[in-house]
Amino acid sequence: MEDMKKRVQLSGNEAVATALRQINPDVFPAFPITPSTEIPQYFSNYVANGLVDTEFIPVESEHSSMSAAVGASAAGARSLTATSSCGLALMWEELHVAASNRLPLALTLVCRALSGPININCDHSDSMGARDCGWLQIYAEDNQEAYDNMVQAYRISEHPDVRLPIMICQDGFITSHAVMDMELLPDKVVKDFVGEYEPERYLLNENGTMAIGPYAITDYYMEARRAQAQGILNAKKVILDVAREFEKISGRKYGLFEEYRMDDAEYAMVLIGSAAGTAKDAVDKMREAGKKVGLIKIRVFRPFPAEELAAALSKVKGIAIMDRSESFSSNGGPIGSELTQALYHARCKAFTVNYMYGLGGRDLQVIHVEEIFEELMALEAKGDPKDSVSYRYVGLRDIADPDHKQISYLCKPENSEQA
């Protein structure tokens, strides 16, 4: 039985914890925060029952969990931590330290809204807020993907061409707590796939010392940042190589993003995470009605697959870019900004509308997705859709609309004549 794949029913948190048990990392400092708490909880049980060799450090804050993970990684140990929301916000300084010291450690992030109001449910304001910290970011649609991404994490992060920390993201409660039928790889297969961690330079090297975390001013700082940028640039190929190897042991195929019914699509939706399931249902329904719609689900947000996305979207007329986090730029959300930039560079002709959805756990429903596609089609029919303001919200409460007839809301200044 040991060497066979196993069908199981697990929550996303237990799935990731199981991957971690199979990986058997060296040091795991952690601090509880909903909805990621279960991951260190499950893991503590593995420690308590001798199933792993890991040094579990129950620290007194998330700042300390990332600080200890940085220390452990610098010391030569494979390390990680888990968190959500405010926990990630508290780590912000350390996220930069981990990346700039080129430490290959992992963070299993269970995405949750940031305060305020304080809210424990899913959106991507935590991970998107950390998008410029120098970490790799890989997102999951469901529990299986969360598990699979965790198994692939260290191979990417520790690769000599990359040497950057990696964030494995899943959606709070929606995948972290919902139980799903999924497949586990055998322990040995995971262990062999991940391999032993053999750092070249580390603090606990008996044959040589290392100093890490220098003060560097104008004469060296910029070169350090440039070198770090190279790691992100190199990561795309490594992520794809690791995915190909992973396919050999799992039969499951991963890329930088997933294209769903995009072949002859005229209108596309682009999103990240668990809402892809809902969007796929809506796409299926509309395809049955003869409408040429498709979906792109981004898996890898850092590095951002700009050229690849632009190529995949080169033939569509209109694109709904879905953001599950505000960036309060007055110009849409983070995926909106990054993707439109990619489309502009590729001289893509499609028009885009950037929708904010699902903040603080608000459901994105099939009907919302359908409405968005209809809206794209209507804009195209109007003639010059590029004139439209592209920053909208879907699924808001509206006291003027108790029956929820209106789904999409334009965002515009209240003190101008702008349409």
């Binding site: 603090l203 890490i212 220098p214």
Partner: protein, 309 residues
């Protein structure tokens, strides 16, 4: 424990000259002498909170540290070394390391009493086998002498400046050694540079080789922040001890031990007078401030004596 000054001072330096600390800096003297507590055959990983020591000793591409060294950030030296020590335990368990490593981290009073207190408390409470050394110069010296919770009352700092309605820092200083002792860790000590560094050396070695968490609070005067002539470092330390401003004590497994009591306690003026940060206390009419300072020193010392008896 026998102490041979010459032998101790002739141990191989683990903190190289050529670093950029100021002339007469107490921080650098603290580091050199704490590191002399290490047995020569043992490896060490040195941690460091952001501060003067870090920016002056590890300026890329140069390092003054002959042991492995990790600087992470300002407030997390305790947590960072917790991770390093955790890594040591597991790598040792897995047979990847044979030799002995000791773990020492340095932080100034800003990084220890204030912003790093939570991280330090966590590391102490969890009982990692490491030594946290606070080199206490009583203010944020790296950013230009701002007050910390270690700054003594009435000190003139850049955020508690003396003015027409201000006598300097209004509050008394935090008793950090007692706070850390309340964590019930195996070893806490307070020391400074006196008696040919014997007190510091003995305590450093004890702290390093006592299994579990240990804390050293080392008075490390800053000539720039305190305003005394650089060459008077040892004189200032001696006055701090002889006035009972900075008593020498240890807490070993919960037992408080007073290591030194001056035969004839000197008045606090003797410690305050050489320092320009206390200049205003000697203006006519301010005698009551010196009296208040003296009362606080006496109150604390009595409390300490009670704990030690």
């Amino acid at each position: 424990m026998g102490y041979n000054f010459k032998e101790t001072m002739n141990k191989k330096e683990r903190f190289a000259p050529g670093h950029r600390m100021c002339a007469g800096c107490g921080g650098a003297v603290c580091v050199r002498n704490v590191l002399r507590g290490l047995h020569e055959e043992d490896h060490a990983v040195i941690g460091n909170a952001t501060g003067c020591l870090e920016v002056s000793s590890f300026m890329y591409p140069f390092t003054a540290w002959s042991d492995s060294y990790v600087h992470n950030a300002f407030e997390n030296a305790g947590a960072t070394l917790s991770g390093v020590e955790g890594a040591y335990k597991v790598l040792k368990r897995k047979g990847k390391i044979d030799e002995t490593f000791k773990f020492i981290t340095f932080g100034g009073d800003g990084g220890t009493y204030d912003i790093g207190l939570q991280s330090l408390s966590g590391a102490m409470e969890r009982g990692h086998d490491l030594v946290y050394v606070c080199y206490d110069n009583g203010a944020y010296m790296n950013t230009g002498t701002q007050r910390s919770s270690a700054t003594p009352q009435f000190a003139d700092t850049t955020t508690t400046p003396v003015g027409s309605v201000s006598h300097g820092k209004p509050q008394i200083r935090k008793d950090l050694a007692a706070v850390i002792a309340a964590h019930n860790i195996p070893y806490v000590a307070q020391t400074t540079f006196v008696r040919n560094f014997k007190d510091l050396h003995v305590k450093a070695e004890k702290a390093i080789y006592t299994p579990g968490a240990a804390f050293l609070n080392v008075l490390a005067p800053c000539p720039r922040g305190w305003g005394y002539p650089t060459q008077d470092l040892l004189k200032i330390c001696q006055l701090a001890v002889e006035t009972n401003y900075w008593p020498l004590f240890e807490v070993v497994d919960g037992t408080w031990i007073l290591n030194y009591e001056p035969k004839k306690k000197l008045p606090i003026e003797d410690f305050l007078r050489p320092q320009t940060r206390f200049k205003h206390l000697f203006k006519p009419g301010n005698e009551y401030l010196i009296e208040a300072f003296q009362n606080e020193v006496d109150r604390r010392f009595e409390e300490l004596v009670k704990r030690c008896s």
